[in-house]
């Protein structure tokens, strides 16, 4: 079988390599050797058990947000609001977590996860409704609800949830039974990672093996064609948006129940936006999202260790993420142009078109 230079794995690998060439600039400015730096970013974190587990810890929230973004994008619904939906899930988890102290974990945890999912979906609902009812573009509405969610978090932390003892803007600690248990003793890897894998598996199954998944992909590939084929595109988009919001909401639950054990202002350093990087790098497929999330988790742990060992500021991790996102969408757009597709999905430049054009399973 001949491997096309434009096949998805080759393209993504090329995006990573081009990114590394571009970001060699800042590394050289920092006075380090780029080869050594990339070894420290990518390889070093995989060489000890402790750092390997930390890679999975930092991959956990972006597994969720990556899957959330990928599902929405796949349907042609541009949910830029995963960040806000995550924060709503976190608020719900912090609230529910303090109330379920009397319940055993087996009851408390599902309630919390469900609560976070509902909160995230609720936050995603209004923009989705505006889109399917009035055709109001969801890019801006979902984006603008992110700062609103952050203000809501800050309002709670500086108001009713402020720690009464210390006065710190931190909500009360959640009940012990509401904490996600560690998967491996003396590590920070928690139940959230497993939940994330289950979500990815379920999403993969639904997308690639069920009629609902087919409708979703059809709507994203060509709304007109889908409508012609008798698919209720509005309902499909609404469903995709709500599921997307729910999964992003669980990311917030996972961070509260697994890492912070309370609501804090710095709960998410932009996991919702990183989800866009993960989804795009994973070319909107669930296996791709899983690999991309772990790769970015690897990079982020690598970036902090390279900061110590090589003196490269760890913020290079964010630079790599941004450049990676740009090179990936650029290459995907070039591939679409080559294949002569004009990007029918009403907003051309869809990532979806590319993936589906290859006929890959979800």
């Amino acid at each position: 079988m001949r491997i096309s230079p434009w096949s998805t794995p080759v393209l993504v690998l090329a995006a990573v390599l081009i990114t590394f060439v571009i970001t060699a600039g800042p590394i050289l400015v920092a006075g380090a050797n780029p080869i050594e730096a990339y070894t420290a970013f990518v390889i070093t974190p995989l060489t000890s058990q402790f750092t390997l587990l930390e890679v999975l810890v930092s991959a956990t929230p972006i597994l969720f947000t990556g899957a959330a973004v990928a599902i929405a994008f796949r349907a042609g619904y541009w949910n830029i609001g995963a960040e806000g939906q995550l924060l709503l899930g976190a608020i719900a988890a912090a609230g529910i977590g303090t109330l379920v102290g009397g319940l055993p974990g087996i009851v408390a945890l599902p309630i919390m996860v469900a609560g976070g999912a509902v909160a995230g979906a609720a936050w995603a609902f209004v923009p989705a409704l505006l889109r399917v009812r009035f055709g109001i573009d969801e890019v801006v509405t979902t984006l603008l609800l992110n700062p609103v969610a952050l203000l809501l978090v800050n309002g709670l932390l500086h108001g009713p949830w402020r720690d009464p003892v210390t006065g710190f803007p931190e909500s009360p600690r959640i009940a012990a039974s509401a904490e996600f248990p560690a998967l491996i003793e003396r590590s920070r890897l928690h139940l959230g990672f497993l939940v994330g894998l289950v979500v990815i598996l379920a999403a993969w199954y639904v997308l690639s093996r069920t009629p609902a998944g087919l409708r979703l992909r059809a709507a994203g590939l060509s709304p007109h064609g889908a409508r012609f084929a008798g698919i209720n595109v509005s309902r499909t988009l609404l469903g995709a948006a709500l599921v997307s919001g729910a999964i992003a909401g669980i990311a917030g639950v996972s961070e509260v129940a697994g890492i912070q054990n309370r609501l804090t202002g710095g709960l998410s350093p932009g996991y919702g936006y990183t989800g866009i990087v993960v989804a795009t790098l994973g070319t909107l497929t669930m296996p791709g999202v899983a690999i991309a999330a772990i790769f970015l988790g690897d990079l982020s742990i690598g970036a902090s260790s390279a900061a110590r060992s090589l003196g490269i500021p760890s913020q290079l991790g964010a630079v790599v993420q941004g450049v990676l996102l740009l090179t990936t969408v650029a290459l995907l757009a070039m591939r679409r142009q080559r294949s002569g597709r004009t990007g029918e999905a009403d907003k051309g430049g869809s990532v979806t078109g590319d993936v589906a054009a290859e006929g890959q399973p979800g």
Partner: protein, 304 residues
């Protein structure tokens, strides 16, 4: 009285970066490109302006550096969305992530671990000084004067009255027709994005070069997103966008002042700050299907 004068002065001051950002974003969007790189462009402008001013001792050279960075950011956005035809919103988010990362990376390299560095901020000028207490409303930084008296009218004139502005609006509204009429869609969008990027970066630099005289992390704190909201609030019109910026700034400055008064400390000011976003979303909902997006909004243009 002092309270009102003080409030109005603060409103003009705090509106300044929003005015630059909103006008810049308006240029991008009227040419048919939603530039979500605005948050990162303002951030990079704030940092580049500060670092250069700190190194050279001249805020003016700092401002020039910010403008250069802003033009560069606009050019990258144009390269992505015009030349490659890539997804506008994903490209914009990528640009924002990358520019914030790069600014913080450089900040760490240059000012590693040391104490907070400061520069002598740009001076406050008031041609009306001496006309009593009310005149102190106009105790403003030069960049604020420039924004309201020079940039806003000039940007309005260029967009609405010049042939270049007509070209921008044409490629944003109907690129096929503009192309058929001999207007280069690519060149026009590149220019609109680069002008817009320069303005956004000046808006960011206002914080470091004038308002604060220092650079701190998270200095833009979502104001780029505020500008995106204001552009829609203003229905893609410069004048209405500026009015939106003044209203937002009035609310912002008011809550800031009320917060320190006894008895007001417990009010949920965050709700007040969320208002502009909610107003924009509410306005979009109320206009329903009648929202007049630029015709080519979010669509890359390709000759077919």
């Amino acid at each position: 009285m002092t309270f009102v004068v003080d409030l109005l002065a603060a409103t003009l001051r705090n509106a300044t970066p929003l005015v630059y950002g909103t006008v810049g974003e308006t240029y991008a969007e009227r040419s048919g490109v939603l530039n979500l790189g605005i948050e990162g462009t303002m951030y990079a402008g704030a940092f580049a302006g500060f670092a250069t001013a700190w190194a050279t001792g001249s805020p003016l050279i700092g401002l020039l550096a910010a403008i250069v960075v802003g033009i560069g950011a606009g050019a990258i956005m144009a390269l992505m969305t015009v030349t490659f035809g890539a997804n506008q919103h994903v490209s914009g988010i990528g640009l924002t992530i990358g520019l914030i990362g790069l600014s913080e990376f450089a900040n760490r390299l240059i000012f590693a671990g040391g104490e907070l560095q400061r520069i002598e901020p740009m001076p406050i000028v008031n041609p009306l000084a001496g006309l009593g207490e009310i005149a102190s409303i106009f105790d403003q930084y030069a960049l604020t004067w420039v924004a309201f008296l020079l940039i806003v009218p000039a940007a309005w004139w260029l967009l609405q009255r010049s042939s270049f502005g007509l070209e921008i609006r044409a490629v944003g509204e109907n690129p096929e027709a503009a192309d058929a009429a001999g207007v280069s869609v690519a060149r026009t969008r590149y220019l609109a994005l680069m002008i817009g990027g320069a303005l956004m970066a000046i808006g960011g630099a206002f914080f470091t070069l004038a308002l604060l005289g220092s650079f701190t992390l998270d200095i833009i704190a979502g104001r780029g997103w505020v500008c995106v909201a204001l552009v829609i609030f203003g229905r893609w019109r410069i004048g209405r966008g500026v009015i939106g910026a003044l209203l937002f700034s009035l609310i912002f400055s008011l809550q800031f002042r009320l917060r320190i008064l006894p008895g007001f400390g417990e009010l949920p000011f965050e709700l007040l700050l969320a208002l502009p976003y909610l107003v924009v979303i509410g306005a979009l909902a109320l206009s329903g299907r009648n929202v007049a997006y630029p015709g080519a909004y979010l669509k890359p243009y390709r000759r077919s």
